[in-house]
């Protein structure tokens, strides 16, 4: 069986409060839990959301922290049960959305150990309430559209990532309101957009890609190259923001069904060791990874496809390689093309290089990269990014 899983309904062209009010009527929602974190709870748009659902009986769970621990599911489930919720609304980024997913799993299947969730074993969430409504607050992670869930666990004083996947974990509804990410500062706007672009390009060349994900990916790359410079010049341009917000979710639909690649495999440990924003790390690595994978003939063909598509749709001057367009784009938006441009000291980088290479070879996102590197190749790739 080969399948793709995506959200059932995606709303994208209306303020979140009006979509919620309509959904409460259409779906006859009486009781809900809103999952979020303390920062988001204090924001203006959050009040609009609670105002919009005030006709229902709801409770807010705002105890989500970054890299949520595995027992977050039990805590959220407890509130779901107290309220008797039909709906769980997740307002936030990846950590919030994944906490909501874990909560719904535990509320319906208290017997199931979250770690034991397997892609092909039914959880028993399908056709049952509570359903999940995801309202992403940044335009990057794509977890609103994905069937993966990442939690953490402490083992021998080390934080271990638990990532599981199952098609029943895809949020039932996603609401994309561009006014929500419009408050992001410039660096986060760039970081999240480059994350989405990297998702799309890695998804497109993944050895596990398929026609559905390919179509989504192309439109994402075009969208980021077209709209990010507009947003940076005029942060209040809501139409351009909306397009970036949509692109991030489309990228999530693509990569969660096709897998990622080497920029993410290296970007995860590199970002963690040097304290870089995830999108900054993978964006920085992307052109180097494209050049590395170019030796693989199938990957070259697919990169060239993206290149031709961009030259056609964005009327770009013809170039030899896709990485040249990416580098030109980075200079246009003032994004550093090397680590030394990011105030990272050379000796700090040298200390972590070997570790980053080793970790990358065991990162699950490497599995579908077109070319599997040796440890030496990874170290020399890393050398070149400084």
């Amino acid at each position: 069986m080969t399948e793709i899983s995506i959200p059932r309904r995606i709303f994208y062209d209306e303020p979140v409060e009006s979509v919620l009010q309509q959904l409460i009527n259409i779906l006859n929602i009486k009781k809900m839990v809103i999952v979020t974190d303390k920062v988001i709870r204090g924001m203006d748009f959050f009040r609009k959301i609670t105002d919009a659902v005030s006709s229902t009986s709801y409770q807010v769970f705002d105890d989500v922290e970054p890299e949520p621990p595995i027992d977050i599911g039990d805590k959220v489930a407890k509130v779901i049960k107290q309220v008797g919720a039909d709906v769980v609304i997740a307002v936030g980024g990846g950590s919030v959305i994944d906490s909501a997913k874990a909560g719904v799993v535990k509320s319906l299947r208290p017997d199931l150990d979250v770690e034991d969730i397997a892609p092909f074993n039914p959880i028993g969430m399908e056709f049952r309430r509570p359903i999940i409504i995801a309202i992403p607050t940044t335009s990057g992670t794509g977890s609103d559209a994905s069937y993966a869930m990442v939690l953490t666990k402490d083992e021998n004083k080390r934080k271990i990532k638990i990532d599981v996947a199952n098609s029943e974990l895809v949020p039932y509804i996603v609401i994309l309101d561009p006014k929500i990410p419009a408050g992001m500062p410039k660096t986060l706007t760039i970081g999240t957009a480059l994350d989405a672009m990297t998702h799309a390009i890695e998804s497109f060349v993944s050895t596990n890609s398929n026609p559905f994900t390919d179509a989504l990916s192309l439109k994402v790359v075009e969208g980021v190259l077209r709209y990010l410079p507009i947003v940076l010049k005029d942060p209040s341009n809501l139409e351009a923001r909306a397009n970036l917000h949509i692109a991030a979710t489309m990228a999530g639909m693509a990569f969660s069904n096709s897998g990622l690649g080497l920029a993410h495999a290296l970007g995860h440990p590199l970002g963690a060791m040097l304290g870089l924003h995830h999108g900054t790390a993978v964006g920085l690595l992307l052109p180097y990874v494209i050049d590395f994978n170019y030796n693989d003939s199938r990957a070259k063909e697919k990169y060239d496809y993206i290149k031709d598509f961009l030259e056609l749709t964005l009327k770009l001057e013809k170039k030899e390689k896709l990485s040249e367009h990416i580098r030109l784009f980075y200079s246009k938006i003032d994004f550093p093309q090397r680590l030394r441009g990011m105030e990272i000291e050379k000796n700090k980088f040298d200390k972590v290089k070997k570790f980053v290479a080793e970790e990358a070879l065991h990162d699950p996102t490497l599995a579908f990269n077109p070319r599997i590197p040796t440890p030496e190749e990874l170290e020399s790739l890393l050398e070149s990014i400084y």
């Binding site: 069986m1 596990n208 897998g259 065991h362 599997i372």
Partner: protein, 139 residues
């Protein structure tokens, strides 16, 4: 060249893994035996295995292969990781027509037991296992 599947093929596969430095380095930390099951055999093999599903267990531990066990009837065997596929799908994987990890997430290779996320952490080792199988060859 031994034919696939057979006890001799499995033994040669184990030898090839032990010869590979790439496998030794990339599979450090993997400590679970894997049982490989083959179903939907072609006619000429069907008469040989009345069970219809022979298989072999490869005892993998920290980058080495500690030995193999052959089963004329794989339903009588068990291991922490169990992979089942049709004879044709095994051939496609061994010939490199499909990436082994893709084959698992697309359910061409059915992971009857064991976690996909553990396998995803050993992409280099998974590909090297395919290369080792290619060095054994197919008849």
């Amino acid at each position: 060249m031994p034919k696939f599947p057979s006890k001799e093929w499995a033994e040669k596969f184990c030898e090839e893994l032990n010869k590979s430095e790439t496998y030794r380095n990339s599979a450090r930390g993997w400590i679970w035996p894997i049982l490989f099951k083959v179903k939907d055999l072609p006619k000429e093999l069907k008469s040989q295995f009345s069970s219809g599903s022979p298989g072999f267990l490869v005892d993998l531990n920290n980058g080495t292969c500690r030995g193999v066990k052959w089963f004329d009837d794989s339903s009588k065997a068990d291991a922490p990781f169990v992979l089942t596929a049709t004879f044709d799908d095994w051939l496609n994987v061994i010939q490199g027509k499909i990436n082994p990890v893709s084959a698992i997430v697309r359910r061409k290779l059915a992971l009857e037991k064991g976690s996909v996320s553990s396998i995803m952490r050993y992409p280099v080792a998974a590909l090297e296992m395919v290369r080792a199988a290619q060095r054994v060859g197919l008849k």
